[in-house]
């Protein structure tokens, strides 16, 4: 068996996400590749939520259309998810939950019902039923109980030895209880002999960790799903790291504080979602005009407006590229994977300081909230480039300091308050090389050109899009962000059928576009695959390369693309909303 997908389903407040996370960690420690996706509604308790875990022996980059096993903690969970279970699949539910089998029989879905609640009660607390369920799942798919026990030891440590012991007892008993079922269970994952340790991490945590590795020590933000956990995790970093986090009164203050900190010389960031980003647009112009670097994370969710607050979307791309009145350089990058969340987490600061402009990192709910297994990040590979930044004492000898010097590449020398050799004004009004306000027409033209030249410099240094799959394929999928994973798997599925049916061109550096983009796309039959209504990347590409797509596959109901669905659309040549 190559990979198995399990959906843990119940009500908000039943601890699904933490159980799911624990299960992912156990699997990761057993050397499996895992992708865990939470699916919850914009409410705090009650209402069906689920957490879906896909486990495999090779990297898993998406959630499939159908699941192998449904863990149902409530009766209605079955009703709600039965149609997603593959024929011959399984439902695992505590014996105490009454299941209506009418949904299952016709598609010969087997039902396994160990008395998990009862078992948990015996050991003291029915909340431990989740622990038992995880042990049962381990037993079924055949990964070692020990992995579960280790994670229990780790996660319950702060609750005390007692809690660890009882949970482990429950796990052991539950694991034991389903011996026969496990024997009869058709899908086993082959366990690697000596497991290679992997990190199990969410996109937000990877990005936050990357930011710290990149020297970010100031973060100001206002809570907004799905960005909040970036601020929350950075707040949890021990004080010794000197990570200053400020929960502000609103997003305007969040962006402004980060810009103030960066102006003073710190590596500073903020993080929000689309609605909060709207409130940061004026600040974007402040940073653009005064050439202050700042990193702004927009973790996209379903829009417009409040929209679908806990669901995913890729609806902010054209907004991010054009946000702000007037014209000024900004950079827009978007991670495609959890590995890239970490990498862009630190790279964003290099770009911001190198080009002295705002950098917008576009992620989305799917990356932000999903937990993936990645190779342990290598902090040694992180580089810090502060661009043309001058620290006190490092000034080249000579005639004064011109902060906004008309540099050929547009990049002027940058210094910070406190530097006796560089006392200067900065203004959002148009200014001369020294920073003083002027309305002189000739100066205006040169200063605009100087600023805008930074965009050309950045374009020439931008990463070109990446081609995956056969160079010559009948169809070229174009994707960015979280659509990358399912597209990549769709390409593999399509090509597995023999011919070079499809390849994939995907983007990490979205604005400015690398000049190589046109050449890479030219002459291909392109299908855009985007988690939005209007194929925004496709529009951007046509705007700047003139190349139009042949069709597009869009999903905008807040749910994830499955590779199967993408592949079907390509096979059937049906390009429209999924």
């Amino acid at each position: 068996m190559q990979d198995i997908t399990i959906r843990l389903s119940g009500n908000a407040g039943q601890g699904l996400e933490s159980s799911g996370a624990g299960f992912v960690l156990a699997a990761a420690r057993s050397g499996l590749h895992v992708l865990g996706m939470p699916d919850y509604r914009s409410r705090v308790r009650g209402g069906n939520n689920f957490f879906q875990v896909r486990l495999g022996n090779s990297p898993v980059q998406s959630q499939p259309r159908q699941i192998n096993i449904l863990l149902a903690l409530t009766a209605d969970a079955v009703e709600m998810h039965a149609h997603d279970i593959m024929d011959g699949g399984f439902v695992l539910a505590p014996a105490e939950v009454g299941i209506d089998e009418s949904f299952l029989r016709p598609r010969n879905i087997a039902l396994i019902q160990p008395p998990l609640v009862d078992l948990a009660k015996q050991h003291g607390d029915k909340m431990m039923a989740n622990t038992g369920a995880l042990a049962v799942l381990a037993a079924l798919i055949g990964f070692p109980l020990q992995a579960i026990q280790d994670v229990i030891a780790r996660n319950f440590a702060r609750k005390g030895a007692e809690a660890v012991a009882t949970n482990q007892a429950v796990a052991a008993a539950a694991h034991d209880m389903v011996r026969e079922d496990a024997a009869r269970f058709p899908w086993k994952l082959s366990m690697p002999a000596e497991p290679r340790p992997r990190m199990a991490i969410s996109g937000n945590h990877a990005l936050a960790l990357g930011a710290m590795a990149g020297g970010c020590r100031f973060m100001s933000a206002y809570p907004m799903t799905p960005a909040t956990t970036i601020m929350e995790w950075l707040s949890s970093v021990p004080p010794e790291f000197g990570m200053v986090v400020k929960h502000t009164e609103d997003e305007i203050a969040a962006a402004c504080m980060a810009i103030g900190a960066s102006y003073a010389g710190a590596r500073a960031m903020t993080a929000t979602s689309g609605g909060g980003f709207c409130l940061m647009v004026e600040s974007l112009g402040l940073a653009g005009m005064t050439e202050v670097p700042v990193v702004i994370v927009d973790a996209q969710r379903g829009g417009p407006s409040t929209g679908l607050p806990t669901r995913t979307e890729q609806g902010d791309l054209l907004f991010a590229v054009h946000a702000g009145h007037g014209e000024f350089p900004r950079i827009v990058i978007a991670p495609r994977t959890h590995e890239e969340c970490f990498e862009l987490g630190w790279r964003a600061f290099n770009l911001a300081e190198r080009y002295q402009c705002p950098v917008i990192v576009l992620t989305d709910m799917l990356l932000a909230g999903s937990i993936a297994t990645i190779d342990p990040v290598d902090f040694g590979a992180v580089s810090i480039d502060r661009g043309r930044t001058i620290e006190p004492g490092d000034h080249p000898a000579g005639n004064g300091f011109r902060r906004f010097e008309f540099a050929d590449d547009g990049i002027s020398p940058r210094a910070f308050p406190g530097d006796p050799e560089a006392v200067f004004p900065s203004s959002t009004d148009e200014h001369d090389e020294t920073g003083h306000i002027t309305e002189d027409a000739a100066n205006r033209v040169r200063m605009m050109q100087k600023r805008m030249r930074k965009l050309e410099t950045a374009a020439n240094e931008a990463r070109p899009p990446e081609l995956y799959g056969p160079e010559d394929a009948e169809i070229t999928l174009v994707a960015w962000g979280s659509s990358y994973g399912p597209c990549r798997e769709a390409v593999d599925m399509l090509n597995a059928e023999g011919r070079a049916a499809a390849n994939l061109v995907s983007f990490t550096d979205i604005w400015p576009l690398s000049p190589a983009t046109e050449e890479i796309l030219r002459g291909r039959r392109i299908i855009a695959v985007e988690g939005n209504y209007s194929s925004q990347l496709a529009q951007l590409l046509r705007m700047h390369t003139g190349i139009a797509v042949q069709g597009s596959i869009n999903r905008y109901d807040g749910r994830a693309f499955s590779p199967e669905a993408i592949a079907d659309h390509v096979r059937e040549g049906q390009y429209a909303a999924v």
Partner: protein, 296 residues
């Protein structure tokens, strides 16, 4: 060189001044320079953050680290700069519209947050740069292009709001009296935490009511009436005085509370600005191992 060597000319600058002749902002510019000289702070040691408006052009007219930003946002920007580098002496200077109108939310939250900022508000009770609309501090009945029948809103009382919002230093001064102004600014600088200095500033072009004379006839000094600056209730009562008698001076001050940045534990490890320099020169990847462990 010792502070005593700090002189006014250090802060002079040639940039063309665009204020109207007679504008109350000139005295505020002078008062600030006097205060810096008295406190012995050099241009590179101070950061002056402003917003947008006539008064907010002030940093362009002196030699100092000046950041002229967005209308209404200087307090937030200054707070970020202060948290990034607590060694800086950070000042905010902006107009009444900037500070109490569009910037009102940052104002109340900065009061209760108490970062060590010195905030000088050029309060001319009008929107000057946009040519004369009523501002939050305009009195009821004040006639402007956007209040042709006179303002029908109660005026925003910065002193009362600051007190209610838990500000630890609340003062008022008058740009007709640069010496008093300088004294207030020095006191605000020496205060540990956020210091509000609301300055009554005549706009000679658009505010024909609240003129130099109008203020002079009404102003009195709190210290001359034995006001106790540690008495919050007394301060609140004085804050309500407006009209025939207008108090200037320190309404309230307490150092019972820490400045915000004093309670930020992460700052003990060095400021974000220092970290940026240190990590650039010497990244020390191994330091993150404990964080990585959280995900293994």
């Amino acid at each position: 060189m010792p502070p005593s060597d700090v002189s006014l000319d250090l802060f002079e600058c040639e940039a063309e001044n665009t204020w109207c002749p007679g504008c109350g902002d000139f005295a505020i510019l002078r008062g600030l320079k006097l205060a810096l000289v008295e406190a012995g702070i050099r241009p590179h040691e101070a950061l002056l953050v402003s917003g947008i408006g006539c008064g907010s052009k002030l940093p362009d007219y002196m030699t100092i680290n000046g950041f002229m930003t967005l209308h209404g946002r200087p307090l937030a920007i200054a707070t970020g700069a202060k948290l990034a580098n607590p060694k800086l002496h950070v000042f905010v200077v902006n107009g009444d519209g900037d500070s109490y109108g569009i910037g009102g939310n940052h104002f109340v939250h900065t009061c209760r947050r108490n970062p060590d900022l010195t905030h000088i508000v050029e309060n001319n009770q009008i929107y000057g740069l946009t040519k004369g609309q009523y501002s939050p501090t305009s009195d009821r009945g004040f006639i402007t292009t956007t209040s042709p029948d006179g303002s029908i809103e109660a005026a925003f009382n910065p002193i009362a709001i600051a007190l209610a919002a838990h500000a630890t230093f609340v003062a008022r001064s008058f740009s007709g009296d640069p010496k008093h102004l300088a004294k207030m600014i020095v006191a605000g600088m020496n205060h540990r935490g956020y210091a509000l200095i609301d300055v009554l500033q005549p706009c000679v072009t658009y505010n024909k009511i609240n003129t130099y004379d109008w203020y002079r006839e009404r102003i009195y000094r709190l210290e001359e009436e034995g006001h106790d600056t540690s008495d919050h209730d007394a301060a609140a009562a004085r804050a309500q005085e407006w009209g025939d008698r207008i108090p200037i001076g320190i309404f309230f001050q307490t150092e019972a509370e820490h400045a915000y940045e004093e309670d930020v534990r992460a700052l003990a490890a060095g400021s974000p600005v220092e970290s940026a320099v240190r990590l650039h020169r010497n990244p020390q990847p191994e330091q993150y191992e404990t964080l990585r462990q959280r995900f293994l």
